[in-house]
C-alpha cells in the first residue's frame, strides 16, 4: 500500500504544479490568439462584402 500512497502523492503534487504553469501560459497565449482570431474573421467578412 505504501507504494500507491507515495505514487499518488507524487502524482498529485507534480500534476498540480504542471497545471499551475500551464494555466498561466494558456491564459496569456490564449489572449493573443483571440485577438488574432477576431482579426482574421473581420478580414474574411470584409472580403465577402467586397466580393458581393
Amino acid at each position: 500500500m505504501n507504494f500507491w500512497i507515495n505514487f499518488w502523492s507524487f502524482f498529485f503534487f507534480a500534476s498540480l504544479a504542471i497545471f499551475a504553469v500551464l494555466a498561466v501560459v494558456v491564459t496569456i497565449g490564449g489572449f493573443y490568439n483571440i485577438r488574432s482570431l477576431f482579426k482574421s474573421l473581420t478580414n474574411r467578412a470584409d472580403q465577402n462584402d467586397d466580393q458581393s
Binding site: M1, W4, I5, W8, S9, F11, F12, S15, L16, I18, F19, A20, L22, A23, V25, V26, T27, I28, G29, G30, F31, Y32, N33, I34, S36, L37, F38, S40, L41, T42, R44, A45, N48
Partner: protein
C-alpha cells in the same frame, strides 16, 4: 436534502449571489456581442478553422472541464478515493500519445471534415453517415441528459437551497442563457467564452485545492483513507475497489474522450493546421489529467471531512449501507460550502456555473451540427444552402435544450454519474472506434463491416441501470462496455473480410 435541518449551514452569502449573477450576465453579454463576427456556416461551426494552439487548449479544457465533469469526478473520488486517480492517469497518458502520434485526429483534420459522420461518408458511403450520425446524436444527447441534474445538485449543495421549484427556475434560466448565445454566436462565441471560463475555473480549482489541503492536512487525508478503506482506497487493481477490468475500461475511455468523442474532435477539426492539432493534444493532456484529478481530490477531501463529522457521516456514509448516488454527488459541494470563505465561494461557484454553461454550449452546438450536417442534409441531393443549415442548427439547439430540461428532471440515475456518462457515450463510441481506426488505417474495411460495427455498438445501452432493471440483469458498466467494443471490432473485421466493397466511395484514402 435540507442540511440546515441537521444544523449544517453554508458559507454562501448574498455577496456570493451577486458575484455569481454579475459574472454570468457579463459572460452572456460577451457571447451575444460576438454574433457580429459570424458571416457563414464555417465560421459558425468551426470558427473559420482559425484556432491557434493556446486558444485551442483553453477551449478544449474549457469544454471538457465542465461542472458535470467536476461532479462525476468528485463522486468517483468520494466513492473510490485515491484509487480513482487512475482515471486521470489513463486519460492523460492516452491524450499525450494521441498528441505525439496524431493517432486518428491528424487524418481527420487532413480530410477537413467537420464531423465524424462526415468521415464515415467519405470512407464508407452516405448510408453509414446517416446511421452513424443518428446513433452519435442519440448517444450524445442521452449523455448530456444528466448535465442539468448534476448542475442542480451542485447548486443545492453549495448554496444550501432547498426549494426544488426555485432551483428548477434557476437551472432553466441558465440553460436559456446558453441557448441564447450559442444560437447567435456559434463556435466563435463558444471558443471565446470557453477561454474566459478556462481562466476562471483553472484558478478556482487551484485555489480550492490549496484550501482543502490546508484545512484537512495531507497527512490526515492519507491516514483517514488508510484507516477506513485500506488497500482498496489506493490500489486501483484491488478487487474490493475498481479491479483490473475497470482500469482497462478507463484506458479505452481515455482514447474515446480525446480522439473519438465528437466534442473533442471538433477542436482538432477547427485547428489551423496539423502541426497545431498535435501540439493542442500534447498540451491538452495536462487538461485531461486535471479534469479528473482535482475534482477527484475534492471528492476524497469531502470523504475525509464527512468521515470526521458525526452529523454529516450519518447522511453521507451510513453504517452498514451505501448512500444513494444522488446523495454521494452532493458530498463535494457540501464540503466546499463548509470550508471556503464567503467571497471566494462566490467566485468558485461562478467558475463552476460558467463551466456548466461552457460544456452545454459546446455540446449543444456539436450535436445540433451533427443532426444538421449528417442526419438531415445528406437526404437532399442538391444539398442545403448555408442559411438553411444555420437555421436548422439553431432550431436543433433549442430542441435539444428542451429535451435535456425534461430528461434531467425525471430520469432516475441509479448508478455513479461517471458510469452513466461512460455507458451512454459507449452507445456511440463502441462502434465509432472500429469505424475510425479501421477506416483510417485498414484499406479493406468495408461498408458492411461499418454497418455491423455501428449496430453492435448500439448494444451498449444494456449498461444503463434502468434498462438492466427492466431486463432483470446486473452487469457492471465496464464489462458491458468492453464486451460491446470487442463485438464491434470483430464485426468490422469479419464483415469487411466476408463482404468487401465492390466500388469504394469517392474521396476514400488509398
Amino acid at each position: 436534502m435540507d442540511l440546515s435541518a441537521i444544523g449544517i449551514e453554508t458559507n454562501f452569502s448574498n455577496l456570493d449571489w451577486c458575484i455569481v449573477i454579475g459574472y454570468l450576465l457579463v459572460i452572456v453579454a460577451v457571447g451575444v456581442y460576438i454574433k457580429r463576427y459570424i458571416s457563414n456556416v464555417t465560421d459558425f461551426m468551426v470558427a473559420g478553422r482559425g484556432l491557434k494552439t493556446f486558444l485551442g487548449v483553453a477551449t478544449m479544457i474549457g469544454t471538457e472541464l465542465g461542472l458535470v465533469t467536476v461532479m462525476y469526478s468528485s463522486q468517483k473520488g468520494f466513492t473510490g478515493l485515491f484509487a480513482a486517480f487512475h482515471i486521470a492517469f489513463a486519460s492523460a497518458i492516452v491524450s499525450l500519445v494521441v498528441g505525439l502520434t496524431g493517432f486518428i485526429v491528424v487524418p481527420l483534420r487532413r480530410m477537413k471534415v467537420m464531423t465524424i459522420p462526415e468521415f464515415y461518408e467519405k470512407r464508407f458511403g452516405r448510408g453509414v453517415r446517416i446511421l452513424g450520425g443518428t446513433i452519435l446524436t442519440f448517444s450524445g444527447i442521452l449523455n448530456m441528459g444528466m448535465f442539468l441534474k448534476a448542475g442542480s445538485i451542485f447548486v443545492m449543495g453549495i448554496t444550501g437551497m432547498t426549494s426544488e421549484y426555485e432551483l428548477k427556475i434557476i437551472m432553466s434560466v441558465l440553460l436559456g442563457m446558453v441557448l441564447l448565445y450559442t444560437t447567435l454566436g456559434g463556435m466563435v462565441s463558444v471558443v471565446v467564452l470557453d477561454y474566459i471560463q478556462f481562466v476562471v475555473l483553472s484558478f478556482s480549482l487551484l485555489v480550492t485545492s490549496v484550501f482543502a489541503i490546508r484545512y484537512l492536512g495531507w497527512g490526515n487525508i492519507i491516514d483517514t483513507v488508510s484507516q477506513l478503506k485500506g488497500e482498496a482506497g489506493f490500489n486501483p487493481f484491488d478487487a474490493k475497489g475498481f479491479g483490473t477490468s475497470y482500469v482497462i475500461w478507463m484506458f479505452f475511455l481515455g482514447l474515446v474522450n480525446c480522439a473519438i468523442w465528437q466534442t473533442a474532435v471538433i477542436r482538432a477539426c477547427s485547428a489551423e493546421s496539423i502541426k497545431i492539432v498535435k501540439r493542442l493534444y500534447t498540451f491538452a493532456s495536462v487538461g485531461w489529467l486535471i479534469r479528473f484529478l482535482l475534482p477527484c481530490f475534492f471528492g476524497i477531501s469531502a470523504f475525509v471531512f464527512i468521515a470526521q463529522h458525526p452529523t454529516l457521516k450519518n447522511v453521507f456514509l451510513p453504517e452498514g449501507s451505501v448512500a444513494d448516488s444522488q446523495v454521494t454527488l452532493m458530498a463535494m459541494p457540501v464540503f466546499l460550502s463548509q470550508i471556503l470563505p464567503f467571497g471566494l465561494i462566490g467566485i468558485v461557484s461562478a467558475g463552476m456555473l460558467a463551466a456548466f454553461m461552457s460544456t452545454h454550449d459546446s455540446y449543444l452546438l456539436c450535436w445540433s451540427s451533427v443532426l444538421t450536417q449528417d442526419v438531415v442534409a445528406p437526404w437532399f441531393k442538391n444539398g442545403l444552402s448555408s442559411n438553411v443549415r444555420l437555421l436548422l442548427t439553431r432550431i436543433f439547439i433549442v430542441a435539444i435544450g428542451i429535451f435535456i430540461l425534461v430528461w434531467g428532471l425525471w430520469y432516475d440515475l441509479g448508478q455513479d454519474l461517471w458510469d452513466y456518462m461512460a455507458i451512454s457515450g459507449a452507445i456511440y463510441f463502441s462502434g465509432a472506434i472500429a469505424l475510425l481506426v479501421f477506416g483510417i488505417y485498414w484499406k479493406r474495411a468495408s461498408k458492411v463491416g461499418a454497418y455491423l460495427a455501428l449496430i453492435c455498438g448500439f448494444g451498449a445501452f444494456i449498461g444503463l441501470k434502468p434498462v438492466q432493471n427492466i431486463l432483470g440483469i446486473d452487469v457492471s458498466s465496464e464489462i458491458v462496455g468492453l464486451t460491446v467494443i470487442a463485438c464491434a471490432i470483430t464485426s468490422m473485421v469479419f464483415g469487411s473480410l466476408i463482404f468487401p466493397d465492390r466500388n469504394r466511395p469517392s474521396g476514400q484514402k488509398e
